[in-house]
Symmetry: C2
């Protein structure tokens, strides 16, 4: 049912945690399943995402997509990070079952919310 990459990022999620005094924090909820996700960004003066961490109450698919999404935005500029879509994350994971696509939206939305938080602060 799940690809090897999904199981890898689910079993060993990258970048789980919090960042104190983060440049931007995004919290989003999934109305369909009641899950929540929070992403912390550390953005330097050149607009580069130096560090990123996440926390979620979501399922394995939410954990795996967030883990992959944080890997994909790390080291990127803000514009590039905005182009890391839900679809790009799913492709990087070699796909997700259709019933789990809505879980993968949490990561994209949380990153956008965190970038928005950063933008409004700067």
């Amino acid at each position: 049912m799940y690809t090897e990459k999904v199981m890898d990022h689910f079993s060993n999620p990258r970048n789980v945690g919090e960042i104190e005094n983060a440049s931007g924090v995004g919290t989003v909820g999934n109305a369909k399943c009641g899950d929540i996700m929070r992403i912390y960004l550390d953005i330097d003066d050149n607009g580069i995402i130096n560090d990123v961490k996440f926390k979620t109450f979501g399922c394995g698919a939410a954990v795996a997509t967030s883990s992959m999404a944080t890997e994909l935005v790390k080291g990127k500029g803000i514009k590039e990070a905005l182009q890391v879509t839900n679809k790009a994350v799913m492709d990087a994971l070699d796909g997700l079952p259709p019933v789990k696509v809505h879980c993968s939206l949490l990561a994209e939305e949380a990153i956008h919310a965190a970038l928005w938080d950063y933008a409004t602060k700067n």
Copy 2:
């Protein structure tokens, strides 16, 4: 949204893992969200559940209910374990939001499936 006990069992889930040569194994799926849960029971000659472990791809609510359910059945006899309902587990967790009740069913169903597996083998 989530009680302290839910957050505790989600952050520090008890009895996560597998049991080799388990007396009974139960695997169930949740049609609503596509999540899966597996429970392993180690039952001694007196019919007492000596050890229990679980694995899930489910959300935080599934993790918390399974963790609590394994604590409630550990050390119990088979008949007592069958009385550990979904409702008893939710009560022990001080409740779950309505949208998450279907997640808590996974633990009860997986325990029943593992007990059934044990019964058919013995």
